[in-house]
Symmetry: C2
Subunit: 383 residues, 2 copies
């Protein structure tokens, strides 16, 4: 269902020939109205891809009529020509759809530093437009995959309105955001300011808290488009919760499909003095290569958790730290706790709890283990 | 030669039985005077091992008579009992050597969260004391190895005085400092304040700028001991340069022996607005797992360099960034530069230059590639 679960949207996904292997590589999502309110969040990387720079301009008006997304090339670090290519893509879509170019968002993903084959991409936009369908969400989700092994979609439906979405992302996954593209749609009748508020609140506690490999992308974009076709304006809290739920579900799907990963690691920081402290400690643990290797080896190496906590500026006393791995408190008061032999690490999900004993705040960061497969996937070829 | 290259020092290295495999695991370095001035730098990790906490107290007086070092166990996160064990070690050495316990520094390295076998360590101190020799530096350097494949020593000799040292460290190598122990000795007649100044200046630009895996240890200690046996007080600049040269040499040896590494990567940041900017950018590049995998695959993936630069707060404009890999400017003005096929990456050393085009400051950070061997070494067993 994906982006076409909500009323007022059509989508398509095709193989335009951007990828040399002939796999689907171009998606089009169109808001058929009656409204076209939108909000978006983009990477905080200061080296932003051309489509990110363009889509930031588009989002200023709070209106998006359509989104063109391509895999097979990030169009990042491609200079003025790269920006012209993004602009030409928006103009082509606007022309075919009868909309204004400034209402066409563009997203790209793939190798950095390579120009897109515009002789394939522009005809591809026409082909995709001809295949637009209210059932096209699945095909669109498939067309934006890069190293993803599965496509990711999610839908929440409540009384009279729906929030649905699609996502791609498998490597370069880190907060602010990840190498990921996400398009969310809703048929609720919500203005762009409300969409923006709900989207930022949702990404802050979902996509911004998954950190597969600590690497921040140049292309990340999360868009939320509202058609108003459901003719219902929900309560803000209810709507924001639906957006958060879809973002959370998609984020979990990203972590479960991360490059080379064998374990999904839930890092839960509890009893922190502030939420910022909890997030800082969670990220430090999630980015510790030695710990990620240990988890891969099913070794409950809590010393590496403590050494990661120790690099942060969070409030804590070293001799009051406690760490549980899969429910066993292997570290108590900064020293040896329960028998580490009790920790069962056979399953894919690993749960680490770091108790800072410094307050009442908490945060969860999701990450993956570090594996030889990750190294292989990111060294054997350019991506 | 190592720590006994300078006059006024004796050392020993023995197998005390701390390591189950029977390899050497206990070193003793004694300053035989006439002076016993000393300075030290320890990890900035807030979770500090018991020997670090003890040695910090020892260093307050600016006087160190001897150093006891053990491999086979870090004595970190071991609570009050761990601290008592360190204290007992210092008392034992003081007793055997006829010195005050507060002048005995202690260093430990190995697995975190395990108490040391004191029934083996304390008799080991006696055995080592009995084997002290002016030619014992090499044996001491061997006894502090953990996952090191070779022992590391360095000596600079000038007119009438010498600075020599030994180091261990192979994983958990990151600034502030690394999982490394370093003991430097000199027969120059230098007071502890001058030693401290020279040592801090040296570590800031050497050990603090090697970053193999971004992980900061709980045990790192660098000690500089002066015997005054050469009866020469050098000019400060000359002395500081000798200390820096020995630290630089030992740091290079650590990088070349890093766990699982196949490439040594020199990240040189040039034309930065400030030295801090240069260091921040260098560290961000050096810690980027995706780039480190690409280098392992001999792929000059400059897009990953730019995405790492983009996560920093340093002064730069994205469209003015230039990147050279092994002398080929593969990225110019933030976009595609010279043909990446020209980059020869067959050799072990890889040189990345990141030109921020924002000033005149520079910094060099050394790191390694990320390999399946690193993953294996850190997942197959606890360390």
């Amino acid at each position: 269902m994906s982006v076409t679960a909500a009323k007022g949207f059509s989508a398509a996904g095709i193989a335009a020939g951007i990828k040399e292997n002939g796999n689907p590589d171009l998606a089009l999502v169109v808001n058929t109205g009656p409204r076209r309110a939108a909000a978006g969040v983009v990477t905080s990387n200061r080296v932003k891809a051309a489509p990110v720079l363009w889509s930031e301009q588009v989002l200023k008006s709070g209106q998006v009529s359509a989104v063109v997304l391509n895999s097979g090339g990030a169009n990042a670090c491609t200079g003025p020509k790269g920006f012209q290519d993004t602009h030409a893509t928006a103009e082509k879509a606007a022309d075919v759809l009868g909309r204004a170019p400034i209402e066409i968002a563009v997203c790209s993903t793939g190798l950095i530093g390579v120009l897109l084959p515009m002789d394939k991409l522009l005809p591809g936009v026409e082909t995709a437009a001809a295949q637009l369908s209210e059932h096209g969400g699945e095909k669109a989700a498939i067309a934006i995959k890069t190293t993803d092994t599965v496509h990711k979609t999610s839908v929440v439906t409540t009384d009279g309105w729906t929030v649905g979405g699609m996502a791609k992302g498998a490597g370069m996954l880190a907060p602010g955001l990840a190498t990921m593209l996400v398009v969310l749609t809703t048929d609720a009748d919500v203005d762009s300011a409300t969409l923006d508020k709900a989207l930022r609140a949702a990404t802050k506690v979902t996509f911004d808290r998954i950190d597969s490999d600590g690497c921040m992308s140049t292309n990340d974009t999360v868009l939320l488009l509202a058609s108003g076709a459901g003719e219902v304006t929900p309560e803000y809290e209810e709507f924001a919760e639906a957006v958060r739920a879809v973002c959370d579900d998609l984020g979990q799907q990203l972590i479960r499909d991360a490059e080379g990963a064998g374990k999904d690691i839930k890092v839960e920081v509890i009893n922190a003095a502030t939420e910022d402290d909890a997030v800082e400690v969670g990220r430090s643990i999630a980015r510790n290569n030695l710990l990620k290797c240990a988890i891969h080896g099913e070794d409950p190496n809590w010393g590496r958790v403590l050494s990661a906590i120790g690099t942060t500026g969070a409030a804590f006393e070293p001799d009051q730290l406690n760490v549980a791995i899969n429910g066993v408190w292997v570290c108590k008061n900064g020293g040896v706790g329960e028998d580490r032999e009790k920790v069962d690490m056979r399953y894919r999900e690993v749960h680490i709890v770091a108790d800072l004993a410094a307050g009442a705040e908490t945060a969860v960061i999701w990450t993956n283990d570090l594996t030889a497969d990750y190294v292989h996937e990111n060294s054997a070829y350019s991506s």
